[in-house]
Amino acid sequence: MSQLNKKKTEDLAKRLRKNILDMSLVAGSASSHFGGALSCIDIVAVLFQNIINYDKDNFKDLSRDRFVLSKGHACMALYSILYELELLNDDDLNSFEKSESILLGHPVKNLDKGIEVSTGSLGMGVSVSMGFAIAAKKKKIENKIYAILGDGECNEGSVWEVALSAPKFNLDNLVLIIDRNNFQQTGKSNDILDLNSLNSKWKSFNWDVCEINGHDIIEIYDAIKKETKLPKVIIANTIKGKGFSFSENNNDWHHKILTRNQYEEALKELE
């Protein structure tokens, strides 16, 4: 499971984007967080095709890797991969954002379905991930904890509490991936709260920092696999809405209704 298969990863990413299209259509007038889910898809594909050690059969093992989508509004990315793992089925995806669904607009913890943590309130999943990493170390479990967070999410002070404290606990099993798509809810991140050099900020907190193209399969894989004795943060420069011409870098697609027409057009782009 730990060698890069580029072709399979690209195919998986395509299927994940298709699943997102399907869910967005199902969501209908409830809308969905389309753009932010798409920007992290290549990262998710690399992780699950090549690196993460669990599947639907061993998902409840204590020694499994952990994947936390701290940017919980990108839930379609999570549900999409859980569907590919067969932890979710067609009925589940078709219930997305419907009444009493187990798949809401932000993930709700459900270990039977592969959802580790309830996220959605930004800045919290990273902290729980740090707890996973500490517990794994204490129990001498040799797994890895992966968390994806957003750049807007880095406005939250609680993210910096993790940044400040993780090196103290020698958490070389913790890998944070910042999906830096340069947008947040109401506009460009630089306009709302400029993060400036995320790279130098995290470095100054004594993390191992990589900055990559968040859509380059090889760069993503190499960054995740790179050996380090420090907790690792990967700053992945991405494009919000990546994968479809109408949504790329278009912040209207932060949270929007996908019409049937748009769905059909988008499908063509996936071919």
């Binding site: 740090m130 996973f132 517990a135 509490e161 404290s165 103290k168």
Partner: protein, 323 residues
């Protein structure tokens, strides 16, 4: 753990915080997976000895309460029993949303201990005194809330909460020389109020260190007026003991709740919610507590006196009701 008179005497002299810290030295022997997560408060929580003796079971995340709750949650999801602790306002309000999402919504097995709750830190001002903590957490589903009456009950509530899976908040009140309510071991059950004095007409429902002063006030009344008021220890504010409240309402004409907390949101509010739904209408309820304002900071005894929450204050209230 065996609880004897010697331990009870020692604990009451130490106060609830030191008792809490000391008790964990015994707890961890029975529960080796216990993890204690704190925010730079070992000494204040009586945890210096625990920290030195069991460094692998002790995690200090620095003064970062939101991170503390997230980390505690992550650890609990790996199967460990977890206690978090810091001063009450920071334990409950600073990280309230993390408590909501990680403990309430995810129903995580984490126990939070709020140090020096109520009015005991009055000389530090109301950034540190804590009269809002119960109110804030009561509206979070799945959360148990306990306010131990004395140091012995502090120990018993720690054990009781660690022996179930519910997210729990334990608020410690009082300082050193914490009057013992219980002189020997007794049966403690989360959610079951305890009758300490059986009387008639007037019933005091108290929590935390107000229980002891309520008992003393009732004894003074009995000596002077040969009249026994009932006194109940409502150590668990959530889940509130509806059955006992209903019995009390049926057997008395007047209820008095006493707590070191705002009269909005705490024990008084919880009791009034039950009373409001009962058929018996001619029962009066008086909520004694902090009447929704911030008093000027002052030492503990002065604040209790100012707010009529000390033994004399409770006594005077009852005298007024009896006349």
């Amino acid at each position: 753990m065996i609880i004897d008179k010697k331990k009870i005497s020692l604990w009451s002299k130490m106060g609830s915080r030191a008792t809490f810290g000391l008790s964990l030295m015994d707890v961890v022997k029975e529960m080796e997976d216990l993890m204690v997560v704190t925010c730079d408060v070992s000494t204040s929580a009586g945890l210096d000895r625990f920290k030195k003796t069991y460094p692998e079971n002790y995690i200090d995340v620095g003064i970062a309460e939101q991170n503390m709750i997230g980390i505690a949650t992550g650890i609990s999801l790996f199967g460990n029993r977890v206690i978090t602790t810091t001063f009450s306002p920071f334990q409950t309000l600073r990280c309230c949303e993390q408590i909501k999402n990680n403990l309430g919504y995810m129903n995580s097995n984490v126990k939070m201990v709020g140090l020096a709750s109520g009015l005991v830190l009055g000389t530090l001002g109301f950034t540190h005194a804590s009269i809002e903590d119960i109110g804030a957490l009561r509206s979070i589903p799945n959360m148990n809330i306990i306010s131990p009456a004395d140091c012995t009950e502090t120990v018993k509530s720690i054990y009781a909460s660690l022996n179930n899976d519910s997210p729990t908040y334990i608020r410690l009140t009082g300082g050193q020389l914490n009057n013992p309510v219980y002189e020997e071991d007794y049966n403690f059950e989360i959610g079951k109020a305890i009758r300490i004095k059986k009387g008639k007409e007037i019933a005091i429902l108290a929590s935390g260190t107000r229980v002891s002063d309520s008992v003393l006030a009732s004894e003074k009344i009995y000596q002077e007026k040969n009249f026994q008021v009932s006194v109940y220890n409502f150590h668990t504010i959530k889940p509130i003991d509806k059955i006992t409240i209903k019995e009390i309402v049926n057997d008395h004409d007047c209820l008095l709740t006493v707590e070191e907390h705002n009269i909005i949101g705490g024990l008084g509010s919880a009791v009034s919610e039950i009373l409001a739904e009962m058929d018996k209408k001619n029962v009066k309820l008086y909520r004694m507590g902090v009447e929704d304002f911030y008093p000027k900071g002052s030492d503990y005894n002065s604040l209790l006196k100012l707010l009529n929450l000390d033994q004399d204050g409770i006594y005077n209230k009852i005298i007024k009701l009896l006349s």
